[in-house]
Amino acid sequence: MVRYRVTKLCIAAILWYPSIARSQDIPRLNFEKYTLPNGLEVILHEDHSTPIVGVNIWYKVGSGDELPGRTGLAHLFEHLMFMGSQHVPQGVFDRLLESAGATNNASTSEDRTNYYENLPSNALALALWLDADRMGYLLPTMDLARVNIQRDVVKNERRQSVDNVPYGRADEIILAAMFPKNHPYSWPVIGSMVDLTAASLQDVQNFFRTYYAPNNASLAIAGDFDPADAKRLVSLYFGSIPRGPKLPPRPIVPTVTLAKDTFMVMEDKVQLPRVFYTWHGVKEFHSDEAALDLLANVLASDKNSRLYKRLVYDLQIAQSVRAFDGTNRLDGLFQLDVLPKPGQKPADLDKIVREEIDKVVAEGITPRELARVKNSFKSSFINRLASIGGFGGKADQLNHYNYAVGTPDYVQQDARRYDRVTLADVQRVAKQYLTQPKVVLTVVPEGQKDLMLTVDGASR
């Protein structure tokens, strides 16, 4: 069961969709938003096409709010939200929902923690009651035994998603090199084993009292419900939860730049080396985000993308190449990685990577390339309106936009950002961001550190 996820909404989903010859508009989302006296934001979106309803709550807290020495606490806390509350004995949260035909999950990112229930339409009240109880009454029954169980579950989650995965530890090494110590993005959401061990019951209680209050949350309901009924239930269950204390200020961080290129090596139990290039990019909804997202796909997505075509399709010296523009509230990273075929050297791939980036910087891209990636993004905006619930469904998007830009129905404007990107924009962001200093991590099979890329782009 995935109760953990880090990436930003939807960007990974790309490689598809359109506009061109015959353009299609992004449908508008109807919604109603209001705020309870205790500060809880409520967003309602009716969609009666299927007798189902999605409940989605965002708490505006993530791993970026953690303190050094307690990394992983926000995500560990997310797990504890399922361990029962004053009126819901341990184990009953899931049993009640499953008895009603509902599924549920949650995830934690650097900036927020989201929780959802996917329900048959008659079970809306149950999810609201359960979510209200854990928002208002979590601590009376929270104890060290519950913390210890989920501490060990989370450690196993870390093993399953990081430590027992090839190249799985690359991320945290890169983050630590990209950001200064104590920067809220310098550690991974999952946290370190040492810090997970250190988390105390008091840490958990303090975290709840500080961040889990109605005035730090937004509740979105999407699907087949009667709005008057939903408002009544929201008011009934959430209305009496007291507003929390004033929240500590969100971390304010300076723009981070690297002084020079950094080259690192990590040995792993892998058959093949892999090189990760990481640059500082932009925060989400920055004016250059759309161009960088499109640039990532021009560089590495389908067979015609620049790096895939050279390395994987034409020369066939790489098994895979990926590019990703990751953005969060405070900062973003642009990452590229290449995995050589057996017998091929990272240095030979590196030469091509640098050539292709230089070419985009010097000459820009073609109109056809831009049309392909724009059309694919446009389709993805339509496709993500197909589902009301879960991660990335309409309820989750309404909360995301509400948090990020203050307007739940931002999907059309969001899509328009991509439509407006020009050829010159893509060339400019390539030059502006990909010629800055970077971190280059070569992950190598044990005993093969000589494959590491070094400053001159050659192997050591």
Binding site: Q24, P27, N30, N164, Q319, R368, S376, I388
Partner: protein, 482 residues
Amino acid sequence: MKKSHIFLAASIALLAACASAPVAPTNQVDMSKPPQLGPVAELNLPPVIQRELPNGLRLMIVEQHELPVADFILAVGSGGTVDPQGKAGTANLTALMLREGTTTRSSLDIADQIAFLGVNLGTGTTWDAATVSLHTPTAQLDSALALFADVALHPSFPDREFDRLKKNRQTEILQIRDRGPAIADQAFASIVFGTQYPYGNPLIGTQQSIENLKLADLQAFYRTQYRPNNTTLIVVGDVNTADMEQRLRNLFGGWERGEIPPVNFGQPAASGPTTVYLIDKPGAPQSSFRIGAIAVPRSTKDFFALTVLNTALGGSFSSRLNNTLREVRAFTYGARSGFDMRRMAGPFTASAEIVAAKSDSALTDFMHELRSVLDTIPSDELARAKRYTELRLPWSFETTQQIATAVNTVALYGLPTDYYNNYVRNIEAVTQADVQRVARQYIRPESLAIVIVGDRKTIEPGLRAINIAPIVIRDIGGQPIQ
């Protein structure tokens, strides 16, 4: 499934945000009991229009007008089970080659069209089918359908692309060595079914079988199996049935019928007494557990009873396996079980990634849960499993892609056309006695393959000490070590 264009109908007034709370909050709320829920709303399943073309191609069309998109699945009823002996991966590579060139489009042309149109066009295989699938905005319907039909009907199998895919596949297979869970999946299949039986080999092939493959093998597979009388074409989305039918007749009407040879599956390996197959993955922080045996085909009359049984055993968060191994013992991030039902009997598998140091205790817990589920399941637990299974049905009919997948299951396994209409009733009809009977019939603790991939040095002494079954050491292919 309603069909109104609800998004476009949103009123401007509603878009003005930030009204105040319409109902005053109360301090009188009684939180002590969960709310009583009203009756479950009925799911109105969309009608499926069926047609058969003169060449035998079966069409199944569902109109769903919520978004301006459509999904297509062309399902050829021959998948990995038809791979010739020693040539595992034939069906899969054949499907991948469809996107590598047609008589009028190169590999790069096809990729260019897919991105330019903003469509998803995928090809792939399961054990029972080869599929070409398309998801398209309806604005691009003409071009997208032309591309879809071209890929399905006129592949050119270029040499250069075949060599490229082969090398890519061999590297992919090499990299499985990096991943304990993937090693466990493959070894489990080869041990349970034996490598002489189709299900005992990976769908993607082995180093050896891929090495053996020639382009002619793929062309032969395509020529023999990709025939309209072996195929169903499913369409779901914002389309007009009559118009779509005409388009499909134009595009696929000329596809020639062929004789589909019967498949000789042979016999799977005989099951033996419960044995632990230990595969060394030095340094692995977790051990990958795959426990099970050959179970049932999709055609089993026990489908509904087995589905309910599995929900209670390992098919939901509050199931016994997940509750014990995760929520009580915290040995894992999640434990589960499943009956993988195929045209022939597929496996029952219970699985988890277990922290290395607790491998022995976890095996004891696994065996305890597999034995205790043979006793009568208490009625409240059974009721929960039934309701969880039946009430989630609407969530499988939300998107065009989900509906297409659901229709495909009906077509592929020859289920009754009212299968989903009767689904809830059939789950509801399952009794405690039914569940106990199928549990005892298909979960046999005395005859299980227990595959564990982990750090042998750490886990072997404990596994020997608990003495649950004989332990044999296998290589990463699941075979005896030479």
